[in-house]
């Protein structure tokens, strides 16, 4: 079921929560609405569901305006952040609730409930009450309940925020698998960029009630439309530079620029993986000291300090780290392979600049 938002605005008591937002979700997509808290993403989701009415603009489902269709008639499945299970009903009764309302025959109802219990791995829990379930189990029941009446659209509000990291990972994978299997148009809200990148095939980034960018995870990561997006998605080093003689300078670092007058200030951004580090002090022209190493699993994050006091973050694999024989406090040489000039927020960013010709993929590329 395709969904289209046209110039949607929502005000609460004169304050705009959502401002002139337009985007389209094609049938069968799995879309993330991403942004920091208070950016309006949940309000957008609630307007799509019909729980909230837009102040202005149109919401179209399959090309038909649904602004005036009440939530009960929109045939959506909604999963709430706090699960919102009916605590006086067993797991099976929770799942059957929507079917009961839609007056399914008893045999069909029982079959559908059994199907969902199977699909979501709730087998031995059918007779339990919500308070007897763990967080992850509750969320699966909430999903089953939302999916039971075969909704046209599945909407999820921060679905995995309240469970611990391991369960969250399982639930993410489950959502992807479910979407693959059922192919129902799915929109979920998250403030976690990693989650958005991992789960969705399209990301809609919000910033202060406005649409900041819409694109595939790769597009949003590699071609951020604004400094906000660049900083919000993934880690980015952002340096405040001053242009002198056509070169943006910040501490020891220099970034050649074109067509920028001397004396102007520019913001330069580069991802940690674009920093190339060597233990050979002759290898690159900049020197820095490895101040601290953060262990992230397969990857390590390095904090590098220049003699001027400027600190940047780099990223490398465990193997690379061992090969270079690095330790905290050690002096290294480095270069920055790619960077981009960050325009003011809202302006389209200029393309990324490669400093050297491609040296082949470096460890940690694409992260």
């Amino acid at each position: 079921m395709s969904i289209e938002l046209k110039n949607i605005t929502k005000q609460f008591g004169g304050v705009s929560a959502v401002n002139d937002v337009s985007f389209t979700v094609a049938d069968g997509q799995l879309v993330a609405l991403l942004g920091p808290s208070g950016c309006g993403k949940t309000t957008v989701l609630r307007m799509i569901s019909g729980l909230e009415m837009p102040t202005a603009g149109e919401i179209l489902v399959r090309g038909k305006r649904v602004n005036d269709v009440p939530v009960q008639k929109r045939n959506i499945g909604f999963v709430f952040q706090g699960y919102a299970l009916f605590k006086s009903m067993s797991v099976a009764d929770n799942i059957a609730f929507g079917l009961l309302i839609k007056k399914w025959a008893k045999a069909d109802r029982d079959a559908r409930v059994a199907e969902l219990i199977e699909l979501l791995g709730l087998k031995d829990l059918a007779k339990r009450f919500p308070h007897q379930l763990s967080g992850g189990q509750r969320q699966r029941v909430a999903l089953a309940r939302a999916l039971a009446p075969k909704p046209d659209v599945l909407l999820l509000d921060e679905p995995f925020a309240a469970v611990d990291a391991k369960i969250r990972q399982e639930l993410r994978e489950m959502l992807v698998n479910l979407h693959h299997e059922l192919n129902v148009t799915t929109i979920f809200v998250t403030h976690d960029q990693e989650e958005a990148m991992e789960v969705s095939n399209r990301i809609v980034v919000f910033d202060k009630g406005r649409l900041a960018q819409i694109g595939t995870p790769r597009e949003v990561y590699e071609e951020p439309a604004s400094e906000f997006v660049a900083r919000f998605i993934g880690v980015m080093n952002v340096l405040d530079c001053e242009v002198r003689e056509g070169v943006a300078r910040c501490g020891e670092l220099e970034f050649p620029t074109h067509g920028v007058a001397d004396g102007q200030r520019l913001r330069i951004g580069f991802r940690p993986y674009a920093v190339q580090v060597s233990n050979d002090l002759m290898a690159y022209r900049h020197f820095a000291v490895l101040r601290h190493t953060y262990f992230l699993g397969v990857l390590l994050r390095l904090e590098l300090e220049f003699p001027s006091g400027l600190i940047i973050r780099a990223r490398m694999s465990k193997e690379e780290y061992a090969r270079l024989n690095l330790t905290e406090g050690r002096k290294i040489s480095l270069q920055i392979r790619q960077y981009r000039v960050l325009a003011r927020e809202g302006e389209l960013l200029p393309p990324e600049v490669s400093v050297t010709h491609h040296l082949g993929p470096s460890p940690g590329d694409g992260i």
Partner: protein, 274 residues
């Protein structure tokens, strides 16, 4: 070696001992004394004293009117609590404070006021009596007085529960296609039933024991508007202590049994959260 868990407050033994002592002094000893006094009677004498026609009429009125008052309170108290929690309107805090009024007001004053209101030439009585609604000196008056004193119990029991009611749950029901009535009946009511029953039980218990407000509005006509606690007082005034004891024991046993039943029902209604 026995495991010893660290506790913030010292000693289970001490607190349990205090609990038992406190309960004994305030509850068990007086009740025990009451039963002991009645044991001085033979069973036949007890039965004769406890089941006079006048006494039976008084039990009927006490329990009937208390039940009616508790039911009224359960329904309208719930409504009142709902309005106070869910809506914001000018004067809400004032009304909220008024709910406690029956707690604070001496019940005799309440009874006198109500009797004046509902008597044939009272503010309300002058309109109601011509319509055949006699609020003073009738069983209806007893129900009115008992409703008045029991009201805060339901409201105050329900308010915190309503405040913690999850709004998401109502929205979830809506997204699944449920209208307001369906949402209320299927989703909200079952979760409210246990606290409503608790409030009902408290209001009911209070009504059974109520004396002050009723004596003024009921008129205390034997066999008609005389409540059991009043009959006990009459027996006492007649220096008929054993007669009073017999009535009191009946009242106590029935109350205890009824509260027991309500408790079981309450646990059943709350089965989903245990």
């Amino acid at each position: 070696m026995a495991e010893k868990r660290y506790r913030v407050l010292p000693g289970f033994g001490l607190t349990m001992g205090f609990t038992l002592f406190y309960l004994s002094v305030l509850v068990l000893v007086p009740i025990g004394g009451l039963f002991l006094r009645t044991f001085s009677l033979s069973w036949a004498d007890f039965w004769r004293l406890a089941t006079t026609d006048r006494a039976l009429a008084a039990y009927q009125l006490t329990f009937g009117a208390s039940l009616a008052a508790a039911v009224i309170n359960a329904v309208f108290g719930t409504l009142l609590a709902w309005v106070l929690v869910r809506y914001d309107f000018p004067g809400r805090r004032f009304i909220d404070a008024l709910v406690d009024f029956p707690f604070a007001l001496p019940t005799a004053v309440a009874g006198l006021t109500l009797a004046n209101l509902f008597s044939a030439n009272g503010w309300l009585g002058q309109f109601l009596v011509p319509l055949g609604i006699k609020g003073a000196f009738t069983p209806l008056g007893v129900v009115i007085a008992l409703t008045f004193v029991g009201m805060p119990f339901v409201v105050r029991t329900l308010q915190p529960v309503l405040e913690h009611l999850d709004r998401d749950v109502e929205e979830a029901a809506a997204t699944l296609g449920a209208g307001r009535l369906r949402t209320f009946v299927s989703v909200i009511a079952p979760t409210l039933l246990p606290p409503v029953m608790t409030g009902f039980a408290l209001a009911f218990a209070r009504a059974i024991g109520e004396y002050g407000s009723v004596v003024f509005i009921s008129g205390n006509l034997p066999m008609k508007t005389e409540i059991a606690p009043y009959l006990i007082v009459i027996r006492l005034e007649e220096y008929d202590y054993t007669g009073a004891m017999a009535l009191a024991v009946v009242l106590l046993v029935i109350s205890f049994a009824l509260l027991g039943v309500i408790n079981v029902l309450e646990q059943w209604a709350n089965r989903f959260s245990r």
